[in-house]
């Protein structure tokens, strides 16, 4: 195909957009509505999971050692714990540090004078944080199997509840996202199909005059892709502003809530939403028009 023919067919694609203004608007609105729902749902679920993950990160396991275990051995065990895949962070609390923290609580400000010696010798421990709270039981089992370990403090209920809720949210969100995307694909494809079907006669005329498949198809495909891109850009812009506004509103009006909960930053939400929406919008616009026109090319 010559360059001028390529430009002509591309020009026709843009022209069709305006020529079939109502159809274009309806298609953009359909794609936009579907993807907007997807954006909103993703933002909500994404934040819910983010908040849960943050709560999970706060769940720790405390490891205490037998009184006769040497400091060197305790530090060696600390290294082993740090090397575990399920562990994200390990904090060592020495006897002195513990006494400095709890001494004033037990004996008042002059705790050093009341107790000539640290009564908490041997209570040094590791505070272990996990990458994934569902892996807590395997870590605890491993810790408890060590001869040097006297006691492991952990909350099984918290870990199980958190990982359970997380799993449920993950399943539900995957399910809803798949359904939303499927509905979007169906609606968008239908809109594109209806739009092209009413122009069957135009396609037939082109074919009778001797137009190649590419010549007939290119304007429709370009039109579908532009509609898809606009249909994706609008909900993205809307979600961007809405998300920004809601975050600002929560931190302004509900400062207590904002201190307790941290929300996903805008960039991180849009690093997923933008490519997904554009791929879905443009991809469906392309595929929908390509496949639908193909059916009418057998003239």
């Amino acid at each position: 195909m010559k360059i001028r023919s390529l430009f002509y067919t591309l020009g026709q694609g843009f022209r069709n957009l305006f020529k079939n203004g109502w159809y274009s608007l309806a298609s953009i609105a359909t794609i936009g509505a579907c993807l907007f729902l997807f954006c909103i749902f993703y933002s909500v679920v994404g934040n819910l999971r983010y908040i849960l993950n943050n709560v999970e990160k706060g769940v720790s396991v405390q490891v205490f050692f037998n009184y006769d275990v040497s400091e060197e051995r305790v530090q060696e065990i600390g290294k082993e714990i740090r090397n575990r895949v399920e562990v994200s962070k390990v904090i060592y609390h020495s006897d002195e540090e513990i006494w400095e923290t709890f001494g004033p609580v037990w004996a008042g400000e002059d705790y050093d004078e009341v107790y000539m010696e640290n009564p908490l010798v041997g209570e040094h421990n590791f505070e272990v944080y996990l990458n994934d709270v569902s892996l807590q039981s395997s870590l605890v089992t491993w810790l408890e199997s060590m001869n040097e370990v006297r006691k492991v403090n952990y909350s099984e209920i918290t870990a199980n509840t958190l990982s359970g809720v997380n799993l449920i949210i993950a399943y539900i969100s995957i399910g809803i996202i798949v359904i939303l995307l499927a509905v979007s694909i169906f609606l968008i494809n239908n809109t594109v199909r209806v739009g092209i079907s009413v122009r069957t006669e135009e396609i037939n005329i082109m074919k009778y005059v001797g137009a190649t498949d590419f010549f007939v198809r290119a304007p429709f495909v370009l039109e579908g892709m532009i509609i898809g891109a606009l249909g994706a850009a609008l909900p993205l812009a809307l979600t961007y502003n809405l998300y920004d506004y809601v975050l600002g509103y929560i931190s302004g009006r509900f400062s207590v809530l904002a201190e307790l909960l941290t929300f996903l930053p805008l960039d991180s939400v849009f690093s997923v939403l933008m490519p997904v929406c554009l791929i879905v919008g443009i991809g469906i616009g392309f595929l929908g028009s390509f496949i639908t026109v193909h059916k009418h090319l057998r003239v």
Partner: protein, 248 residues
């Protein structure tokens, strides 16, 4: 001699031997219909001929046009147009094949969102004629069909006769070897119908093979051309300077 020249020569020899259009024992059955639309017909049309295909509704005239355009493939037999056996044409070869056939329909089939010039130029764009050449060819063909002053008009605002002239201009602008006209006067009043027929005759005199499907006895009988009469899918009469005998 290049391969292209050799093929052109072979094609020319084939046309001289078997005609620009040849149908050999062609039958066409639509799956949903009981009786065949075309039943074992054999027909030869030579280059430069003007042929009327006549017959009542359902006689198989339009099916014949669709077979010649390679819109349909025959159930059996061979359809050869300009030396091409339509059965052997690949899907990708059909556009180039159709560019040598001009086609005009009863309902004009114009691109309604474009003006007269754009409708005619469309046929030229498809074969990638340079713009400068296009600007020469389109007004020239529009002048030939009597629409020189209307090239900017919206086709929807033209009369039936004018719309058919636009369709004719579009069919002719690429200088096809064959012009197929399926009921070209079906939607026109007698005056416009005659004007279109005069144009078709003029085009034929310039060397284009013209095949007109019609059931207008006045036109057929007045023009004294070859008449192929069809009935229930069969050719029942084929006569030089024939007439349209309506048996009903």
């Amino acid at each position: 001699m290049s391969r292209k020249q050799l093929l052109a020569q072979k094609r020319q020899e084939f046309i001289e031997e078997r005609g620009i259009i040849c149908m050999n024992n062609v039958s066409m059955n639509y799956p949903e219909a009981g009786a065949p639309a075309i039943d074992d017909i054999t027909l030869r049309i030579d280059p430069g001929e003007f042929v009327f295909i006549v017959g009542d509704s359902g006689s198989g005239k339009s099916t014949m046009i669709r077979l010649l355009l390679r819109e349909l493939l025959p159930t059996s037999g061979d359809v050869c147009v300009m030396g091409y056996n339509t059965r052997k044409l690949r899907h990708s070869q059909i556009p180039a094949f159709r560019r040598n056939i001009g086609v005009v329909f009863q309902d004009f089939r114009l691109l309604k969102d474009r003006n007269v010039y754009e409708n005619v130029a469309f046929a030229q764009r498809i074969i990638e004629v340079p713009s400068r050449e296009m600007r020469r060819n389109v007004p020239s063909i529009l002048a030939m069909v009597g629409l020189a002053g209307k090239y900017r008009s919206n086709v929807k605002k033209l009369s039936g006769g004018e719309q058919q002239r636009v369709a004719l201009a579009r069919a002719l602008v690429n200088k096809p070897e064959i012009l197929l006209a399926d009921e070209p006067t079906g939607n026109l009043d007698p005056n416009n119908a005659w004007e279109i027929m005069d144009l078709l005759e003029e085009i034929n005199e310039q060397g284009t093979t013209v095949v007109v499907v019609t059931h207008n006895p006045e036109i057929v009988n007045a023009m004294k051309k070859r008449v192929v009469t069809m009935k229930r899918g069969l050719i029942v009469n084929d006569e030089e300077e024939g007439t349209y005998v309506n048996e009903d």
